[in-house]
Subunit: 153 residues, 2 copies
DNA sequence: TACCTAACTTAGGCTTCCGAAGTAGCTCAT
DNA sequence: ATGAGCTACTTCGGAAGCCTAAGTTAGGTA
Protein backbone atom coordinates (compact mmCIF):
# COMPACT_ATOMS: atom_id res chain seq x y z
CA UNK A 1 0.00 0.00 0.00
CA UNK A 2 1.33 3.41 -0.86
CA UNK A 3 1.66 6.01 1.82
CA UNK A 4 -1.02 8.65 1.29
CA UNK A 5 0.40 11.71 -0.42
CA UNK A 6 1.08 14.66 1.84
CA UNK A 7 -1.39 17.48 1.64
CA UNK A 8 -2.47 20.46 3.65
CA UNK A 9 -5.57 19.97 5.72
CA UNK A 10 -8.93 21.14 4.40
CA UNK A 11 -8.87 24.29 6.44
CA UNK A 12 -5.61 25.49 5.02
CA UNK A 13 -6.61 24.50 1.52
CA UNK A 14 -9.88 26.38 1.78
CA UNK A 15 -8.44 29.46 3.43
CA UNK A 16 -5.50 29.81 1.10
CA UNK A 17 -7.42 29.10 -2.07
CA UNK A 18 -10.11 31.54 -1.01
CA UNK A 19 -7.55 34.25 -0.49
CA UNK A 20 -5.90 33.62 -3.83
CA UNK A 21 -9.23 33.53 -5.57
CA UNK A 22 -10.26 36.85 -4.08
CA UNK A 23 -6.96 38.49 -4.89
CA UNK A 24 -7.10 37.27 -8.46
CA UNK A 25 -10.73 38.27 -8.87
CA UNK A 26 -10.19 41.80 -7.67
CA UNK A 27 -7.12 42.22 -9.79
CA UNK A 28 -9.22 41.28 -12.78
CA UNK A 29 -12.05 43.56 -11.74
CA UNK A 30 -9.72 46.49 -11.35
CA UNK A 31 -8.19 45.69 -14.71
CA UNK A 32 -11.70 45.70 -16.15
CA UNK A 33 -12.35 49.15 -14.70
CA UNK A 34 -14.26 48.20 -11.56
CA UNK A 35 -11.78 49.93 -9.33
CA UNK A 36 -14.15 50.45 -6.44
CA UNK A 37 -15.05 46.81 -6.05
CA UNK A 38 -14.48 45.35 -2.61
CA UNK A 39 -14.64 41.79 -1.38
CA UNK A 40 -17.51 42.53 0.95
CA UNK A 41 -19.65 43.58 -1.99
CA UNK A 42 -19.90 39.97 -3.04
CA UNK A 43 -22.18 39.39 -0.07
CA UNK A 44 -24.73 41.44 -1.92
CA UNK A 45 -23.97 40.58 -5.51
CA UNK A 46 -23.89 36.86 -4.85
CA UNK A 47 -27.50 36.82 -3.71
CA UNK A 48 -29.33 39.75 -5.19
CA UNK A 49 -32.29 38.75 -7.32
CA UNK A 50 -33.06 40.20 -10.73
CA UNK A 51 -36.42 41.43 -9.43
CA UNK A 52 -34.88 43.04 -6.39
CA UNK A 53 -34.27 41.55 -2.97
CA UNK A 54 -35.25 42.69 0.47
CA UNK A 55 -32.53 43.56 2.91
CA UNK A 56 -33.76 40.84 5.23
CA UNK A 57 -33.42 38.24 2.50
CA UNK A 58 -29.94 39.33 1.56
CA UNK A 59 -28.80 39.38 5.16
CA UNK A 60 -30.16 35.91 5.78
CA UNK A 61 -28.57 34.43 2.67
CA UNK A 62 -25.23 36.04 3.34
CA UNK A 63 -25.52 35.05 7.00
CA UNK A 64 -24.96 38.57 8.19
CA UNK A 65 -26.86 40.89 10.48
CA UNK A 66 -29.21 43.48 9.06
CA UNK A 67 -27.07 46.48 9.97
CA UNK A 68 -24.04 44.94 8.32
CA UNK A 69 -25.97 44.29 5.13
CA UNK A 70 -27.51 47.73 5.28
CA UNK A 71 -24.08 49.33 5.32
CA UNK A 72 -22.98 47.24 2.38
CA UNK A 73 -26.03 48.30 0.42
CA UNK A 74 -25.34 51.92 1.38
CA UNK A 75 -21.92 51.56 -0.11
CA UNK A 76 -23.10 49.94 -3.32
CA UNK A 77 -25.75 52.59 -3.61
CA UNK A 78 -23.14 55.30 -3.29
CA UNK A 79 -21.25 53.59 -6.09
CA UNK A 80 -24.36 53.49 -8.25
CA UNK A 81 -24.49 49.70 -8.40
CA UNK A 82 -27.79 49.19 -6.61
CA UNK A 83 -30.73 51.33 -5.63
CA UNK A 84 -33.37 51.04 -2.93
CA UNK A 85 -36.90 51.07 -4.21
CA UNK A 86 -40.02 50.99 -2.06
CA UNK A 87 -41.56 47.55 -1.97
CA UNK A 88 -45.10 47.99 -3.30
CA UNK A 89 -46.31 45.15 -1.12
CA UNK A 90 -44.97 46.43 2.19
CA UNK A 91 -44.08 49.99 2.86
CA UNK A 92 -41.69 49.06 5.63
CA UNK A 93 -39.58 47.08 3.19
CA UNK A 94 -37.30 48.22 0.41
CA UNK A 95 -36.30 46.32 -2.66
CA UNK A 96 -32.60 46.37 -3.37
CA UNK A 97 -32.28 46.38 -7.15
CA UNK A 98 -29.34 46.44 -9.53
CA UNK A 99 -29.04 49.59 -11.58
CA UNK A 100 -27.99 49.47 -15.22
CA UNK A 101 -24.42 50.08 -14.11
CA UNK A 102 -24.95 47.28 -11.61
CA UNK A 103 -25.96 44.83 -14.30
CA UNK A 104 -22.98 45.83 -16.34
CA UNK A 105 -20.70 45.25 -13.36
CA UNK A 106 -22.29 41.86 -12.77
CA UNK A 107 -21.52 40.86 -16.33
CA UNK A 108 -17.93 41.95 -15.90
CA UNK A 109 -17.62 40.05 -12.64
CA UNK A 110 -19.09 36.89 -14.07
CA UNK A 111 -16.66 37.02 -16.95
CA UNK A 112 -13.77 37.49 -14.53
CA UNK A 113 -14.90 34.53 -12.47
CA UNK A 114 -15.26 32.39 -15.55
CA UNK A 115 -11.75 33.39 -16.50
CA UNK A 116 -10.41 32.28 -13.15
CA UNK A 117 -12.23 28.96 -13.29
CA UNK A 118 -10.77 28.48 -16.70
CA UNK A 119 -7.29 29.12 -15.42
CA UNK A 120 -7.78 26.70 -12.55
CA UNK A 121 -9.11 24.06 -14.90
CA UNK A 122 -6.08 24.45 -17.11
CA UNK A 123 -3.75 24.04 -14.18
CA UNK A 124 -5.06 20.79 -12.73
CA UNK A 125 -6.95 19.40 -15.69
CA UNK A 126 -10.42 20.29 -16.78
CA UNK A 127 -12.12 17.10 -15.68
CA UNK A 128 -10.31 16.88 -12.39
CA UNK A 129 -11.15 20.46 -11.57
CA UNK A 130 -14.80 20.04 -12.41
CA UNK A 131 -15.02 16.91 -10.32
CA UNK A 132 -13.48 18.63 -7.32
CA UNK A 133 -15.86 21.56 -7.70
CA UNK A 134 -18.82 19.22 -7.80
CA UNK A 135 -17.58 17.46 -4.70
CA UNK A 136 -17.29 20.78 -2.88
CA UNK A 137 -20.75 21.70 -4.01
CA UNK A 138 -22.11 18.40 -2.75
CA UNK A 139 -20.30 18.89 0.55
CA UNK A 140 -21.75 22.34 0.97
CA UNK A 141 -25.26 21.05 0.39
CA UNK A 142 -24.66 18.17 2.76
CA UNK A 143 -23.59 20.66 5.41
CA UNK A 144 -26.53 22.93 4.75
CA UNK A 145 -29.07 20.20 5.19
CA UNK A 146 -27.42 18.78 8.25
CA UNK A 147 -29.42 15.87 9.54
CA UNK A 148 -25.76 14.97 9.98
CA UNK A 149 -24.75 11.48 8.99
CA UNK A 150 -26.06 8.22 10.31
CA UNK A 151 -27.90 8.77 13.55
CA UNK A 152 -31.36 9.75 12.41
CA UNK A 153 -33.96 8.57 14.88
CA UNK B 1 -22.55 15.63 -24.01
CA UNK B 2 -24.77 15.90 -20.97
CA UNK B 3 -25.59 19.33 -19.65
CA UNK B 4 -23.19 20.03 -16.82
CA UNK B 5 -24.83 19.83 -13.40
CA UNK B 6 -25.53 23.16 -11.78
CA UNK B 7 -23.08 24.24 -9.15
CA UNK B 8 -21.96 27.37 -7.42
CA UNK B 9 -18.83 28.95 -8.81
CA UNK B 10 -15.47 28.26 -7.19
CA UNK B 11 -15.46 31.52 -5.32
CA UNK B 12 -18.73 30.86 -3.60
CA UNK B 13 -17.78 27.28 -2.86
CA UNK B 14 -14.51 28.33 -1.32
CA UNK B 15 -15.88 31.24 0.65
CA UNK B 16 -18.84 29.38 2.06
CA UNK B 17 -16.95 26.21 2.88
CA UNK B 18 -14.22 28.24 4.54
CA UNK B 19 -16.75 29.97 6.73
CA UNK B 20 -18.40 26.74 7.71
CA UNK B 21 -15.08 25.12 8.41
CA UNK B 22 -14.00 27.96 10.66
CA UNK B 23 -17.28 28.02 12.54
CA UNK B 24 -17.16 24.29 13.08
CA UNK B 25 -13.51 24.33 14.11
CA UNK B 26 -14.00 27.01 16.71
CA UNK B 27 -17.06 25.34 18.12
CA UNK B 28 -14.97 22.24 18.59
CA UNK B 29 -12.09 24.16 20.10
CA UNK B 30 -14.37 25.87 22.58
CA UNK B 31 -15.91 22.53 23.42
CA UNK B 32 -12.40 21.22 24.02
CA UNK B 33 -11.67 24.04 26.44
CA UNK B 34 -9.78 26.40 24.13
CA UNK B 35 -12.25 29.18 24.73
CA UNK B 36 -9.86 31.96 23.82
CA UNK B 37 -9.04 30.64 20.37
CA UNK B 38 -9.67 33.05 17.54
CA UNK B 39 -9.58 32.56 13.81
CA UNK B 40 -6.69 34.97 13.35
CA UNK B 41 -4.53 32.78 15.58
CA UNK B 42 -4.36 30.21 12.83
CA UNK B 43 -2.11 32.57 10.91
CA UNK B 44 0.49 31.82 13.51
CA UNK B 45 -0.26 28.24 14.40
CA UNK B 46 -0.42 27.14 10.78
CA UNK B 47 3.16 28.12 10.12
CA UNK B 48 5.08 28.14 13.37
CA UNK B 49 8.01 25.79 13.38
CA UNK B 50 8.86 23.40 16.18
CA UNK B 51 12.23 25.11 16.61
CA UNK B 52 10.70 28.55 16.71
CA UNK B 53 10.03 30.91 13.83
CA UNK B 54 10.98 34.49 13.25
CA UNK B 55 8.27 37.06 12.98
CA UNK B 56 9.41 37.89 9.47
CA UNK B 57 9.05 34.28 8.41
CA UNK B 58 5.61 33.95 9.91
CA UNK B 59 4.42 37.18 8.34
CA UNK B 60 5.70 36.15 4.92
CA UNK B 61 4.11 32.71 5.06
CA UNK B 62 0.80 34.04 6.29
CA UNK B 63 1.03 36.85 3.74
CA UNK B 64 0.51 39.50 6.36
CA UNK B 65 2.42 42.61 7.31
CA UNK B 66 4.88 42.52 10.18
CA UNK B 67 2.81 44.72 12.49
CA UNK B 68 -0.22 42.53 11.99
CA UNK B 69 1.73 39.41 12.81
CA UNK B 70 3.36 41.12 15.76
CA UNK B 71 -0.03 41.89 17.26
CA UNK B 72 -1.15 38.34 16.77
CA UNK B 73 1.92 37.05 18.53
CA UNK B 74 1.31 39.55 21.33
CA UNK B 75 -2.11 38.08 21.77
CA UNK B 76 -0.95 34.48 21.73
CA UNK B 77 1.77 35.42 24.18
CA UNK B 78 -0.78 36.94 26.52
CA UNK B 79 -2.68 33.67 26.29
CA UNK B 80 0.43 31.70 27.12
CA UNK B 81 0.48 29.83 23.81
CA UNK B 82 3.74 31.18 22.46
CA UNK B 83 6.73 33.00 23.85
CA UNK B 84 9.33 35.26 22.30
CA UNK B 85 12.88 34.11 22.81
CA UNK B 86 15.95 35.99 21.72
CA UNK B 87 17.43 34.51 18.58
CA UNK B 88 20.99 33.50 19.48
CA UNK B 89 22.11 34.17 15.91
CA UNK B 90 20.79 37.71 15.63
CA UNK B 91 19.97 39.94 18.51
CA UNK B 92 17.50 41.99 16.48
CA UNK B 93 15.39 38.94 15.88
CA UNK B 94 13.16 36.96 18.18
CA UNK B 95 12.15 33.36 17.89
CA UNK B 96 8.48 32.75 18.36
CA UNK B 97 8.16 29.40 20.10
CA UNK B 98 5.26 27.34 21.30
CA UNK B 99 5.03 26.92 25.06
CA UNK B 100 4.00 23.63 26.62
CA UNK B 101 0.45 24.93 26.73
CA UNK B 102 0.87 25.88 23.09
CA UNK B 103 1.85 22.37 22.11
CA UNK B 104 -1.09 21.02 24.01
CA UNK B 105 -3.40 23.42 22.19
CA UNK B 106 -1.90 22.39 18.87
CA UNK B 107 -2.68 18.76 19.63
CA UNK B 108 -6.24 19.67 20.48
CA UNK B 109 -6.59 21.71 17.31
CA UNK B 110 -5.19 18.98 15.14
CA UNK B 111 -7.63 16.51 16.62
CA UNK B 112 -10.50 18.89 15.98
CA UNK B 113 -9.43 19.38 12.37
CA UNK B 114 -9.12 15.64 11.88
CA UNK B 115 -12.63 15.30 13.26
CA UNK B 116 -13.97 17.78 10.76
CA UNK B 117 -12.21 16.12 7.86
CA UNK B 118 -13.70 12.87 9.01
CA UNK B 119 -17.15 14.37 9.04
CA UNK B 120 -16.70 15.79 5.56
CA UNK B 121 -15.43 12.46 4.28
CA UNK B 122 -18.47 10.73 5.67
CA UNK B 123 -20.79 13.20 3.99
CA UNK B 124 -19.51 12.95 0.43
CA UNK B 125 -17.67 9.66 0.53
CA UNK B 126 -14.20 9.04 1.79
CA UNK B 127 -12.54 8.52 -1.57
CA UNK B 128 -14.30 11.36 -3.26
CA UNK B 129 -13.41 13.73 -0.46
CA UNK B 130 -9.78 12.73 -0.49
CA UNK B 131 -9.58 13.14 -4.22
CA UNK B 132 -11.07 16.62 -4.06
CA UNK B 133 -8.66 17.59 -1.31
CA UNK B 134 -5.73 16.38 -3.37
CA UNK B 135 -6.96 18.34 -6.35
CA UNK B 136 -7.19 21.49 -4.25
CA UNK B 137 -3.73 20.86 -2.94
CA UNK B 138 -2.41 20.45 -6.47
CA UNK B 139 -4.18 23.61 -7.53
CA UNK B 140 -2.68 25.57 -4.68
CA UNK B 141 0.82 24.40 -5.58
CA UNK B 142 0.18 25.19 -9.22
CA UNK B 143 -0.84 28.70 -8.24
CA UNK B 144 2.14 29.13 -5.95
CA UNK B 145 4.62 28.23 -8.66
CA UNK B 146 2.94 30.25 -11.32
CA UNK B 147 4.96 30.03 -14.50
CA UNK B 148 1.32 29.74 -15.62
CA UNK B 149 0.99 28.35 -19.07
CA UNK B 150 -0.02 30.02 -22.25
CA UNK B 151 -3.07 32.08 -23.03
CA UNK B 152 -4.50 34.74 -20.78
CA UNK B 153 -8.16 35.10 -21.65
C1' DT C 1 -57.82 51.83 20.06
C1' DA C 2 -53.93 49.51 21.81
C1' DC C 3 -50.57 46.36 21.37
C1' DC C 4 -47.21 43.10 19.26
C1' DT C 5 -44.32 42.08 15.58
C1' DA C 6 -41.51 42.96 11.36
C1' DA C 7 -38.37 45.88 8.27
C1' DC C 8 -35.08 48.81 8.41
C1' DT C 9 -31.72 52.52 10.32
C1' DT C 10 -28.60 54.67 13.65
C1' DA C 11 -25.09 54.62 17.18
C1' DG C 12 -21.30 52.69 19.35
C1' DG C 13 -17.90 49.21 19.79
C1' DC C 14 -14.69 45.35 18.71
C1' DT C 15 -11.43 42.80 15.79
C1' DT C 16 -8.22 42.46 12.35
C1' DC C 17 -5.85 44.12 9.45
C1' DC C 18 -2.73 48.11 7.03
C1' DG C 19 0.85 52.06 6.24
C1' DA C 20 4.12 55.18 8.21
C1' DA C 21 7.45 56.12 11.32
C1' DG C 22 10.57 54.85 15.08
C1' DT C 23 14.37 51.94 17.55
C1' DA C 24 17.90 48.65 17.89
C1' DG C 25 21.22 45.59 15.77
C1' DC C 26 23.90 43.85 11.73
C1' DT C 27 27.21 44.57 7.61
C1' DC C 28 30.29 46.54 4.77
C1' DA C 29 33.20 50.02 2.49
C1' DT C 30 36.29 53.01 3.39
C1' DA D 1 36.60 51.91 13.46
C1' DT D 2 33.02 54.18 11.93
C1' DG D 3 29.35 56.02 9.39
C1' DA D 4 25.80 54.53 5.79
C1' DG D 5 22.50 51.66 4.80
C1' DC D 6 19.90 47.60 5.53
C1' DT D 7 17.13 44.39 8.44
C1' DA D 8 14.08 42.88 12.47
C1' DC D 9 10.86 44.32 15.07
C1' DT D 10 7.55 47.68 17.58
C1' DT D 11 4.40 51.61 18.09
C1' DC D 12 0.87 54.57 16.49
C1' DG D 13 -3.08 56.01 14.00
C1' DG D 14 -6.66 54.58 11.08
C1' DA D 15 -9.77 51.93 7.90
C1' DA D 16 -12.77 47.95 6.87
C1' DG D 17 -16.06 44.79 8.22
C1' DC D 18 -18.54 42.99 11.20
C1' DC D 19 -21.43 42.92 15.77
C1' DT D 20 -25.26 44.25 19.59
C1' DA D 21 -28.55 47.40 21.31
C1' DA D 22 -31.84 50.68 20.65
C1' DG D 23 -34.63 53.51 17.78
C1' DT D 24 -38.40 54.53 13.88
C1' DT D 25 -41.98 53.41 10.95
C1' DA D 26 -45.38 50.20 9.11
C1' DG D 27 -48.28 46.04 9.30
C1' DG D 28 -51.37 42.66 11.76
C1' DT D 29 -54.73 41.63 15.25
C1' DA D 30 -58.12 41.97 18.70
Amino acid sequence: MSTPPERLHVGQLLVQLTRRFQTELFERLVAAGLTDARVAHTHVTAYISADGSRLTELAAQARMTLPAMSELVDDLQRLGIVERRPDPRDRRAKLICLTDAGWEAMRTARAAIAGIEDDYARRVGRERFEEAALTLDALLRALDAPPTDDARS
